[in-house]
């Protein structure tokens, strides 16, 4: 069946919307090279590479970057363990309160970020825990866990349940089953979930604003920069870098979960 051709105005609006979605990135790229340091004149009066050097030399930027990396790593690590456990549990059995647990695991992503943020801040404040690296991690781990949970659960659902039983029937111990049967099947989903979680944690600002003490993660650093009128293009340089750091893991995660869902005979 031949596909009908779209009317010209439809194609035009498609191109228009796509341009709308992507032009801002080009603008960010452009203004990383402008000579001016406080205004956004278009067209830029001149081009220079000095902001890259300026960004490299900023100690506070490196500190913020390092903090973001550490937080993302720890939060993702915790999330991968907790999320997989939760997915395994929800998938394997029907237990009392299963629906409630599924809903609970949906809340961190469903509620507005500000609700999560202020809730965590209230909770942490009530327990008199000082705001520190660990409070940031707690905040991030909450939604990272949900992301990993979703990915792993989706992969579980596409896996043939008989695989585990078959493995046990053939004499494998629990550990062997886990290592040689479950892990390969879940592997890429776990990796994808982990990378997604890392990227989300790296970029997170709303909850972090509430759970951080005096520490600056990279997004918080950027946010503070935006209120300062000097050296604006440094923010652009950082922005380009941040885009790369968050887009590449997501692309990889997308690639990993694209095709494989099960193994041969997975239709049973």
């Amino acid at each position: 069946m031949t596909r009908p051709q779209a009317p010209w105005w439809l194609r035009l609006s498609v191109v228009g919307v796509l341009l709308f979605l992507y032009l801002p990135f080009l603008v960010i790229l452009l203004y990383a090279f402008t000579i001016e340091d406080a205004a956004f004149t278009f067209p830029p009066p001149g081009l220079t590479l000095r902001w890259f050097g300026a960004a490299w030399g900023r100690a506070d930027l490196w500190a913020a970057l390092w903090l973001s990396v550490r937080v993302a790593t720890v939060a993702t690590g915790a999330a991968m363990i907790l999320g997989t456990l939760a997915a395994a549990a929800v998938h394997r059995a029907r237990f009392f309160g299963r629906e409630a647990v599924s809903l609970l695991l949906l809340l961190p992503l469903a509620l507005p970020g500000i609700a999560s943020g202020i809730a965590l801040r209230s909770g942490i404040g009530l327990l008199d825990i000082p705001f520190s690296f660990w409070t940031i991690v707690i905040g991030h781990a909450t939604f990272c866990m949900v992301v990993v949970y979703n990915n792993v659960l989706a992969r579980y659902r596409r896996m043939a349940p008989s695989l585990v039983e078959a493995s046990m029937d053939l004499g494998a111990t629990g550990w062997q089953t886990f290592r040689h049967v479950l892990l390969p099947v879940l592997g890429t989903a776990l990796l994808a979930g982990g990378m997604l979680a890392f990227a989300l944690s790296f970029d997170e600002i709303i909850v972090t604003t509430f759970t951080a003490g005096s520490q600056d993660t990279l997004p918080i650093w950027i946010f503070q920069q935006l209120t300062r009128p000097r050296n604006r293009p440094v923010t652009n340089v950082v922005a380009i870098f941040v885009i790369a750091i968050t887009v590449i893991p997501i692309l990889l995660a997308n690639h990993l979960t694209r095709d494989t869902g099960g193994v041969a005979g997975g239709g049973k």
Partner: protein, 297 residues
């Protein structure tokens, strides 16, 4: 040992479920309940300390003109953003569902989702750059001779301002930009589920293109629109970053919460403000479920 565990599935279940569940229950749900509890306390006007007595005074103060103003402004912006996103998303979603070849469809799906992953803060900052007085939009407006139109827009009361990047119009545009992919995908999913034979049948029965669109396609795509609107509405309600970066100093719920719990130390009021989007979204989700949006997600 594995066999022993295998024969006690409930124990395994409990062991597996315990860590994540405990974490979520204690840390997350506990905090949410703590916040809800906070909103039922009030700030003593004289001492500035939180009085730990159960009262509805804080919620009542939400109805004061200043606070009500904030709530209505945020809800109004959320509505406007949702409508604009729906309008902009529909053509692209329609094209993807009905006209795009499988390869183009995959490419377009990726193209729509990618901006979402490229750092929210950066995208907002980009619009501050674009909308600045000396920026691209002004430049284009001058070139096209639309400078007068731009000034007229900026002169509008309440939503105008000295330049687009410090006006509510700018806030609106930024919101629409940031949430647009969230609206495109559910609409596309809903449109895909419409069997082409249905549209052919409508044409066979004498319906013109416009009628088919209005009476067949649109009602079937509507759940997708509602599904997308859940995101745009809820995300706008709680946001404080975008109004803080691109906008005049008019208060939105998110900014009010940040302010109240920070310098003002008025945690009960901040908590009460936070409950507003939660309650609105709970009602919204109930309605959306009725309209079939959950199948379209």
């Amino acid at each position: 040992m594995a066999t022993w565990l295998y024969r006690r599935p409930r124990l395994v279940l409990a062991l597996m479920l315990a860590p994540p569940l405990l974490y979520l229950l204690v840390v997350y749900l506990g905090s949410l309940l703590a916040m809800l509890a906070q909103s039922l306390f009030a700030l003593d006007d004289y001492t500035g300390q939180v009085v730990y007595e159960f009262t509805l005074r804080t919620y009542a103060s939400l109805f004061q003109p200043a606070n009500l103003d904030i709530i209505l402004r945020t809800a109004g912006m959320a509505t406007a953003v949702t409508l604009a996103c729906a309008l902009l998303a529909f053509p692209l979603a329609y094209y993807m569902a009905r006209y795009a070849s499988p390869q183009i469809k995959v490419a377009l799906a990726l193209a729509v989702v990618m901006p979402l992953w490229a750092s929210y803060l950066v995208r907002v900052y980009a619009w501050k750059t674009i909308l600045a007085k000396e920026g691209i939009v002004s430049w284009i407006a001058e070139r096209l001779g639309l400078g007068g139109l731009l000034d007229a827009l900026l002169a509008l009361p309440a939503i105008g301002g000295p330049s687009l990047s410090v006006s509510l119009i700018g806030t609106f545009v930024t919101f629409v930009y940031v949430w647009l992919p969230y609206m495109i995908l559910p609409i596309q999913a809903a449109l895909e589920r419409v069997p082409p034979s249905l549209l052919e049948a409508s044409a066979d029965l004498g319906g013109r293109d416009g009628d088919t669109f209005r009476y067949v396609l649109l009602p079937l795509a509507f759940p997708g629109v509602v599904a997308g609107s859940i995101f745009t509405f809820s995300l706008t309600l709680g946001d404080f970053i975008i109004p803080g970066i691109v906008g005049n100093s008019a208060r939105f719920i998110g900014l009010a919460v940040l302010e109240q719990q920070g310098t003002a130390g008025n945690i009960p009021l901040a908590a009460a403000f936070t409950m507003v989007p939660i309650v609105i979204m709970a009602v919204y989700l109930l309605i959306a479920r009725r309209l079939g949006a959950f199948e379209a997600l």
